[in-house]
Every structure is written in structure tokens, then in C-alpha cells.
């Protein structure tokens, strides 16, 4: 296997409140292979977006990274100076934020924002940057690129803006694209357009992608592999098909059953997990999921299960759903 594009080991982030540190991310570990799409899935507050922000080192107080190594194509990002890190952001890691309505600077033209970003990272003249910007606007499927180039963000729809956000993230040709809930703020019909665009660009450029979402449907269509987050920890990773076909962790299974869907007979079913995900500072000892877990036993309450390495489908659980297949 070749060197992973991104290698995250034991990443931990804390939130400082009243002089005390509360864990927000705890020992997050995963790899992204070249050209791979890794899906990060979980509920709000599980730490998936925080992971993305921590990788590009944009955490702001009271949040702080306390441990972990982050390597981009072998280079340790966690050891870079702030100045060199700024050269990584945008140039080697592109980032797409969730809300296209607030992601663009309202008083600068689209063209200005694109050319500024490109000229920061690539040796381009003003004219070349403009040409490339227009090419990118065409590439992300916008009609009449010269008009869009001169337009201000408020003149464009949410879908158009998200296309521009994607162009901004990719215009310096990064090795890795982190997309944080890129379709959550969009309607179903626009969402499918955006996923199609992301898939096309991913196939054309070969850029590896980290796709953060709470939507298992998006995961099923887009991701090669999945990491499931719960209460700041990765509790299961697997190739998408295996995870959706036969999840090992009871939480993953519960999450899928909580999504309303027709069963084999075509009847709709939904099954809720009792209780709620523990908030920051309210983590129980042992497995963070044990208070809600039907299978929990004494050891789950006392000792935190490690993310067992089981040949590509790993779950942090003492009593995984080994043989059971969830329909």
C-alpha cells in the first residue's frame, strides 16, 4: 500500500472552561489513501467537524489541540510553524465549509476572491489568474462565467455559491479536499447536483477527499471508507459497503435503524436509540456509548474499548455485532 495522503494518529482536542480542560476529541486515528474518499459520519457534537478544523490548525480558544500527529504525504503538519502552515492551507489542503450563504466575503467580487486565492499559492500574473478563475467557474458548472466572475455573492443562489466555494477550495489544486457538510444547507434537488459535481471533480483531479456529513445516504453514495464518530471518538471504521451492510458497533447499527427507511416488505420502520449522546464534560467512564447500549456489560462501564485493528473493519466495542446482519 502506498503512503497515505493523510495520516492522523491519536488526535485529541480539549475545550477549556473555567480553567479546566474537557475532552472534545479523544485519540482520533485514521488514514486517507491517495484518491480515496473517506466519510466522517456522526451526530452534531460528535467531533467530526472539529477533526477537520484541527487538521488545518484553525482551532480558536477555548479549543486547543493537546496531542496527536497529523501527517500530509509524510510531512508532519503538527510540527509546522504557523507561517508554513498557511502555505499548506489552500495550497495542499482545500476546505469546503457548510454554509454557502456565509462562506463568501459579501463585499468582494467572486473573481477577486478566486484570483486572490490562486495568486497566493501559484505563480500567476493577474491575467493568467483571471483566465484560470473563469476556467474554474466553467468547470464547476456555472453558466456565463465572466458575469459570475464580476458578480458579488448576494447576486447568486445558494447552489451557485456552493459551486464557487468548491472552486475556491480546489483552485490551487490541493492534494486533499476536506468538505464539511457540503450539502447540509441545501435542498434535496440542489444537494444531488453538488454531490455529482464533487464526484466529477474528484474523479478528474484524483484529489483525496474527507467528506464530513451526518447523512448516511450521502455516505452510501460518495464514500469509499467510513469513520463513525461518537462523543469525540472514532468508534468504527470500515469500507462503506461493509459498514452499511454489517455494522459491528451497536451505535452504528442504531444510527442506521434510526434513519426511517422501508424494510424488505416495503413497510416503513424507524427505531430510536434511547437516551442522548453525552455532552462535553459529561463523558461516562468506559465506553462512551454504554449507557445507551443493550449489549453493555460490566467491562463496558469500566474500560474504554480500543479501536481494534481487524483487517480494515474495526470497531471500538467489546461485544461487536459479529455475525448479525442488519437489513
Amino acid at each position: 500500500m502506498s503512503e497515505p495522503v493523510l495520516k492522523v494518529r491519536d488526535l485529541s482536542v480539549v475545550l477549556e472552561r473555567n480553567g479546566r480542560d474537557f475532552p472534545v476529541l479523544d485519540g482520533v486515528t485514521f488514514d486517507i489513501a491517495p484518491g480515496e474518499v473517506l466519510g466522517l459520519v456522526g451526530e452534531s457534537g460528535a467531533g467530526k467537524s472539529m477533526t477537520g478544523i484541527a487538521i488545518i490548525d484553525l482551532l480558536v480558544p477555548p479549543l486547543r489541540r493537546t496531542s496527536g500527529t497529523i501527517a500530509l504525504s509524510g510531512e508532519r503538519l503538527d510540527q509546522l510553524s504557523a507561517k508554513r502552515m498557511r502555505r499548506v492551507r489552500g495550497k495542499r489542503i482545500g476546505f469546503v465549509f457548510q454554509d454557502p450563504m456565509t462562506s463568501l466575503n459579501p463585499v468582494l467580487s467572486i473573481g477577486r476572491q478566486l484570483t486572490d486565492t490562486m495568486r497566493r499559492h501559484l505563480p500567476l500574473t493577474r491575467g493568467e489568474a483571471r483566465e484560470r478563475a473563469i476556467a474554474w467557474l466553467t468547470r464547476v458548472g456555472l453558466a456565463n462565467p465572466p458575469r459570475v466572475f464580476a458578480a458579488a455573492p448576494h447576486e447568486l443562489s445558494g447552489g451557485q455559491r456552493q459551486r464557487i466555494v468548491i472552486a475556491l477550495a480546489l483552485c490551487a489544486e490541493p492534494d486533499l479536499l476536506i468538505a464539511d457538510e457540503p450539502t447540509t444547507a441545501l435542498d434535496v434537488s440542489v444537494q444531488a447536483h453538488m454531490l455529482t459535481l464533487l464526484r466529477e471533480l474528484h474523479e478528474e483531479t484524483g484529489t483525496a477527499m474527507m467528506l464530513i456529513t451526518h447523512d448516511l445516504g450521502v455516505i452510501a453514495k460518495m464514500a469509499d471508507r467510513v469513520a463513525v464518530f461518537y462523543a469525540g471518538r472514532v468508534i468504527e471504521t470500515a469500507p462503506t459497503g461493509r459498514l452499511i451492510g454489517a455494522p459491528l458497533h451497536p451505535y452504528t447499527a442504531g444510527l442506521m435503524q434510526a434513519t426511517p427507511a422501508p424494510d424488505a416488505d416495503g413497510a416503513m420502520r424507524v427505531r430510536a436509540i434511547p437516551g442522548a449522546m453525552p455532552g462535553i464534560g459529561a463523558l461516562p467512564p468506559g465506553c462512551a456509548f454504554h449507557p445507551r447500549c443493550e449489549r453493555a456489560q460490566a467491562i463496558c462501564r469500566e474500560e474504554r474499548p480500543p479501536l481494534a485493528d481487524a483487517g480494515g473493519h474495526d470497531a471500538a466495542c467489546y461485544f461487536p455485532l459479529v455475525e448479525e446482519v442488519v437489513s
Partner: protein, 319 residues
């Protein structure tokens, strides 16, 4: 209005804006209004759950607010029994509870308003309702700020049940919630549905959710009701192209078929809707007739559809 009809909407429309300014009046110009809802008709029968689906800005929430009597229609009429008790559950769990009221007063308000219980029995009733929605009676002494989004929706449900409504309106009740919390709320609602046989209007943009909850579903596009049919008919034999495309657009959990099915084109400007059929600009079957003539809402078998043609849409179109 038959005894079994709880609410009748007859060609109901709602237009916004369009107040002429001084100058516009002087020049005799007509201001551009926004037609949020256009000639929507349907009837909700006693004991059924009617669902409305559509994308944001399609007018479904406006319909809900008109059904609740919060907005007056600018055209058509809404028939309802004057003595009918209504309740509503809202999308935003934060703004739907008065932050200065204790939970027990919030839940008791409909009981007091409609004098549903003698004064002495109110506390007992509130405690019972809080237990029913999965909270404890002690929670009644707290203010809404002490609760999470999911718990707040439970309080909203308790308040709605307290009013012993003849008709319940749910406007995106789970859209602000995470999947696992959504499942809990849907479970709770389904339980009450089965137990109390509530008549309700359930509004959402989420197709699996409406499929789970509703007996009949209305599909709304650009202010118009384009299709109305029993739930399983909508999903197995949709008759409007928009319904078909909407069903296909949402990614399902099947990781073996990775095809995506975007609806072609963009949503038109709602203040300047297309001529004829509102969906024709994005419809794969559209022809000249669709641009020239606005289709009627036709009754077909068990449902109604606003399309000129009888299309076979039971299969997903090829990707």
C-alpha cells in the same frame, strides 16, 4: 362540509408584498408581488394524517400557517369548524417555547384556555403529560433553557396534547434534530397517533419521514400542489414528474448502487414563475402545451395530479 371533514382548503392562495410605494402609485405601476401559494385545494378527514412535502420556499409552511389560522389567505377559502380546537408543533425548538415561562405553565396554557380540567386537576394533568412525553413531572418547574432541542420538542408535544386538539399541525417537527433524536420524536408521535387517532397535517421536506408518518401525501412545488395521493401510491406509482424526481434525488442507504439523480435545472425565481405548468422548465417530458396551458388538478384513481399527461413513472428514470 361533511362531518368527517376537519379542514377544507378551497383554491387557497397567498400573495406577499406588493404594497405600492408612493411613486409607484403616482406612476400607476403595479408592484411585483410574490405568490407564495397558488390555488391549493385539499380536504383533511377526521383521523387521518395528511403529509405535505416540498423543498424550502415552496410554500408548504405558508399553507401550514394558513391552516392554523395564523395567516389569512389572499384568495380562496378555508373551511373549518369554529369550535374546533387546534394545536401546532413548530420546527424551531428554541423559539417555540416562551423563555420566561416555566414548563408546567407552558403545558398548562391550553388546558387553562379551553378550561379542559378543573383548576385543581391541572397540576396532575401536566405531570401526566410530561411523563407521557418522556420527561419527569419535576421538569415542570424548570425553564425551557434547561433543555436540549429534542427535549424541547417533547415539551411542545406535551403542550399540543394538553389542548386535546381536534386537529394538530406539525411544521417540520424534526428537521432541526439529529437522526437519533428525530427517531425518538417520531416514535413518540407515532405512539400518540395510534393511541389518540389524532387528525393532523404533517409538513416536512424529508420524504422518508413523511412516508413513515402520513396516510396521504401532497407534493408542493413553487406554491402549487402538484400531486396528492395515498402514501404508498406516491412512492410506488407517482404521477407527477416532480414527485418522481424528488423521490430519486434523495440518496438512499444502498451503497451498491451509487448513482445520483439530480433534478435538472434550477428553481425558477418564485416572484416570476414560468407560464403554464410551473414545473415545465425542469421537466424531462415538457412540450409546448406545458408552456401554454396551466394544467388542472385532475383526479386520477385515488389521487389528484396537476399534469396534462398520464405518465408511467413507477420506475426510476435511468441515471
Amino acid at each position: 362540509m361533511s362531518l368527517d371533514d376537519v379542514l377544507i382548503l378551497n383554491a387557497v392562495s397567498k400573495a406577499y408584498g406588493g404594497r405600492a410605494s408612493m411613486i409607484e402609485k403616482a406612476f400607476g405601476r403595479r408592484p411585483k408581488g410574490l405568490q407564495a401559494v397558488r390555488e391549493v385545494s385539499f380536504t383533511i378527514r377526521k383521523g387521518e394524517v395528511m403529509g405535505l412535502v416540498g423543498e424550502s420556499g415552496c410554500g408548504k409552511s405558508t399553507i401550514a400557517r394558513m391552516a392554523a389560522g395564523l395567516l389569512a389567505p389572499t384568495g380562496g377559502e378555508i373551511g373549518r369548524n369554529a369550535a374546533m380546537r387546534e394545536q401546532m408543533i413548530f420546527q424551531d425548538p428554541f423559539s417555540s417555547l416562551n423563555p420566561r415561562w416555566r414548563v408546567r405553565d407552558i403545558v398548562a396554557e391550553p388546558i387553562r384556555t379551553h378550561r379542559l380540567r378543573p383548576k385543581k386537576a391541572i397540576d396532575e394533568r401536566v405531570a401526566e403529560l410530561l411523563r407521557q412525553v418522556g420527561l419527569s413531572p419535576e421538569d415542570g418547574a424548570k425553564f425551557p433553557q434547561a433543555f436540549s432541542g429534542g427535549q424541547r420538542q417533547r415539551i411542545s408535544i406535551a403542550r399540543a396534547l394538553a389542548g386535546e386538539p381536534d386537529f394538530l399541525i406539525l411544521d417540520e417537527p424534526t428537521s432541526a434534530l439529529d437522526v437519533s433524536v428525530q427517531a425518538q420524536i417520531l416514535d413518540l408521535l407515532r405512539g400518540f397517533q395510534a393511541e389518540l387517532h389524532l387528525t393532523s397535517l404533517f409538513i416536512t421536506h424529508n420524504l422518508p419521514v413523511v412516508r413513515l408518518m402520513a396516510d396521504r401525501i401532497g407534493v408542493v412545488y413553487l406554491g402549487e400542489l402538484v400531486e396528492l395521493a395515498p402514501t404508498e401510491t406516491i412512492f410506488h406509482r407517482p404521477r407527477h414528474p416532480y414527485t418522481r424526481l424528488l423521490i430519486d434525488a434523495a440518496p438512499d442507504l444502498d451503497a451498491t448502487d451509487r448513482s445520483l439523480h439530480p433534478i435538472p435545472g434550477d428553481l425558477p425565481d418564485p416572484s416570476d414563475p414560468p407560464s403554464g405548468c410551473v414545473f415545465r422548465t425542469r421537466c424531462p417530458f415538457a412540450n409546448e402545451r406545458c408552456a401554454a396551458e396551466r394544467p388542472e388538478l385532475r383526479t386520477v384513481e385515488t389521487g389528484q395530479v396537476r399534469c396534462h399527461y398520464d405518465l408511467d413513472l413507477s420506475q426510476r428514470a435511468a441515471a
